[in-house]
Amino acid sequence: MVKGFFKNDPADRLSDEELVRRAARGSKECWRELIGRYSKMISSTVWKITGGREADDVIQEVLIQLFQSLGTFRSESSFSTFLYRLTVNTACNEVKRMTSPAQAVPVGDEALTQLADETDASEDPVFDTLERGEIRRKVGEALAELPAEIRAYLVLFYVEELTLKQISELFKAPVTTVASRISKGKALLTEKLGKLR
C-alpha cells in the first residue's frame, strides 16, 4: 500500500514539495493539484514562446518531462523556479525542432546587425497613435511571420526579461549568437511591422 496515500490532508493545503513527493508516489489528486497551481504559468509561457503553435503538444511535453522528473526533484530550488525553467527549456527545444533548416538564421550576420542598429535609431511615431488592440493584432501578425526561434528569443529577452546568458544556456548557443539573433529579430519585426501599417 502506498505510504501516505490514506492521509487525510487535503491536497490544496500541502506545499509544492509535499505534492511533488506524493505525486511521485502515485497520487493523482496531488498531481492535479500541483499542475492546477501552475497551469496558467505553464500555458502562458508556452504560448508566449511558441506563439500558440502546437501549444498543446508542447504543454504535454512539459508535463511528461515534469512527471519523469518528480522522483528526482530536490528542493534545492523552489518548485516554481524548477518548473519555470523546465517549461521554458522544453518550449525552446520544441521551437528549435519546429524551426526548419530553411528558417535557420545565419549567425554573425554583420549586415543584419547593422540593420538592427539602424532601426534602433529610428523613431516610430505610428505606434504611439495606435490602440492596444490594434498593436496586438499587428504585432501578432508580424511575429507569426518570424521564424519560431527568433520569436522565442525576442519574447524571452523582452517579455520574460531573461539575460543573454540565460537564453544562451537555454538554447545552448553562444551569447554572441543570441545577441545577433535578437538584433536580427528586432530588424525583421520592425520591417514586418512597417509593411503592416
Partner: protein, 374 residues
C-alpha cells in the same frame, strides 16, 4: 524602434498570448499524462460496497429481469461538458479474473474492523460477512463494507448471483437498497458491472447509476465530485435518456450482443452499432488505436453520436493530437463537427482546427460557431 518601444509592444502581444492560453486545458493534458505514465504505481481509494445477501436471494426468487438504468448526472453547462473527461480505459473483455489461489474462507467483520492485504483494504461499516474465494475475489454475503484497492489490481466483488462488480482501477461507490434490488452509483472513476442474470455488461463512468431491479432507492451521495474534477461525458444515446426514470425499460445498450461474431445477418444500422461496440472494446489494447479511433469517429459521425466523439477526443486527446497520428486532421474535423452540433462554443476545438488547418474542409456551421464563440 528602440528597445523600450519594442519591449512595450511585445508585452502587449504577450498579454494576448496569455488570453489565448487560457483556453488550453492543462489539467486535461495532465490527466492524460498521468494516466499514461503512472498506471503501475497509482493507488486510489476504490469503492464502497453496502450490500445484503438477502437482497440477492429475494431477487433470485422473484426472478426479476435486470433493468439497467443510466442516470448519470449530465453536464449542465457548456463548460462542464467541455471539461468532461474519462480518466481511465476499459478492459477489452469483462471476464472474471483467474483465481490466483484458492482461499475459500468466511471473513466476519464487526463495525469498524478492517481486513487488509498489500493491494486492498476492506473496512466494515456495519456487521459484515464476506466469502473470500481467492486473494482478490470476494463475495459479499451481508453487511456494509468500504474497500480501497490499489490501481491495477484485478479486484472483483460478487453480490450473490445478482451481479459481479469489477474494479477497473479507479474509484466508485456502490450501494444496495436492502430489499429487492442492487443499485450502483459511481461517484468517481469507472466501474464495470456484469449482470449475472442475462450476462450483459455495463460500464459505469463517474456520475453513472445503474439499477438491477425495479425500484430505485434514494441513495445519499457518499462522495460528491469535487468542483475542479471532471464529469462524465455521455454518449449521444445517453443524452436522449436524460429525462428517463429508473422504472422505465432498460436502454438498448444492455441488450446489445456482447460479441462481434454476432455480426452475421445484421442490417446496416446494427452492423454499425456492433462495429462500434467492438472497436470500443478493443480500444485499450489496440496496437493501432488512432486508426481504430478514426474509424470510430467516422461511425459516430454517421450516427450523429456527437457526445461519443467528444468523449473519445477527451479520453485520447494526447494520442489523437500527436504528430504521429496520420488521421489527426480528419479526427480534429470530426471533433470540431461534434462541438458545433453540441454547441460547445467554449472548448476551443474548432478555433484550433481552423488555426491549425486554415485551408482544410470546414464542417457545416463552422463560421457561425466561431462567431458565437468569440
Amino acid at each position: 524602434m528602440n528597445d523600450e518601444k519594442l519591449k512595450e509592444i511585445l508585452k502587449i502581444y504577450a498579454e494576448e498570448s496569455e488570453s489565448g492560453s487560457q483556453e488550453t486545458d492543462v489539467l486535461g493534458i495532465a490527466d492524460s499524462v498521468f494516466d499514461r505514465m503512472n498506471p503501475e504505481i497509482r493507488m486510489v481509494p476504490v469503492f464502497k460496497i453496502i450490500g445484503a445477501a438477502a437482497v440477492v436471494l429475494i431477487a433470485l426468487a422473484v426472478g426479476f429481469s435486470a433493468i439497467f438504468k443510466d442516470n448519470a448526472p449530465l453536464p449542465e453547462t457548456e463548460a462542464e461538458f467541455a471539461a468532461a473527461e474519462i480518466p481511465l480505459e476499459v478492459p477489452e473483455v469483462p471476464e472474471i479474473p483467474a483465481e490466483d489461489e484458492n482461499i475459500n474462507k468466511i471473513i466476519s467483520l464487526q463495525n469498524g474492523q478492517s481486513f487488509e492485504d498489500t493491494d486492498f483494504r476492506i473496512r466494515s461499516t456495519g456487521n459484515s460477512e464476506l466469502f473470500q474465494a481467492s486473494r482478490t475475489r470476494f463475495s459479499l454475503k451481508n453487511g456494509e463494507v468500504s474497500i480501497d484497492v490499489r490501481s491495477g489490481t484485478d479486484f472483483v466483488v460478487e453480490v450473490g448471483d445478482l451481479a459481479l462488480v469489477r474494479v477497473l482501477g479507479t474509484s466508485f461507490s456502490l450501494k444496495t437498497d436492502g430489499s429487492k434490488s442492487l443499485f450502483v452509483k459511481v461517484f468517481e472513476g469507472l466501474v464495470e458491472v456484469v449482470n449475472r442474470g442475462d450476462g450483459s455488461v455495463r460500464t459505469l463512468e463517474r456520475g453513472g447509476e445503474l439499477a438491477l431491479g425495479a425500484v430505485k432507492p434514494q441513495i445519499p451521495a457518499k462522495r460528491q465530485p469535487k468542483a475542479v474534477e471532471r464529469v462524465h461525458v455521455p454518449a449521444a444515446a445517453e443524452l436522449a435518456k436524460v429525462e428517463e426514470t429508473v422504472s422505465e425499460p432498460a436502454p438498448a445498450e444492455a441488450e446489445k450482443p456482447a460479441k462481434i461474431e454476432n455480426i452475421a445477418g445484421l442490417d446496416g444500422e446494427e452492423l454499425q452499432r456492433v462495429t462500434i461496440r467492438d472497436l470500443e472494446q478493443r480500444l485499450i489494447a489496440s496496437k493501432n488505436r488512432t486508426d481504430d479511433l478514426n474509424q470510430l469517429f467516422e461511425l459516430y459521425s454517421k450516427r450523429g453520436d456527437w457526445g461519443s466523439i467528444m468523449n473519445q477526443w477527451r479520453r485520447y486527446y494526447s494520442e489523437i493530437t500527436s504528430k504521429n497520428n496520420s488521421h489527426r486532421r480528419q479526427m480534429h474535423y470530426f471533433a470540431c463537427e461534434a462541438s458545433i452540433k453540441l454547441f460547445l462554443y467554449g472548448n476551443g476545438v474548432c478555433r484550433k482546427y481552423k488555426s491549425f488547418y486554415p485551408d482544410a474542409a470546414e464542417p457545416d456551421g463552422l463560421k457561425d460557431h466561431l462567431r458565437y464563440a468569440e
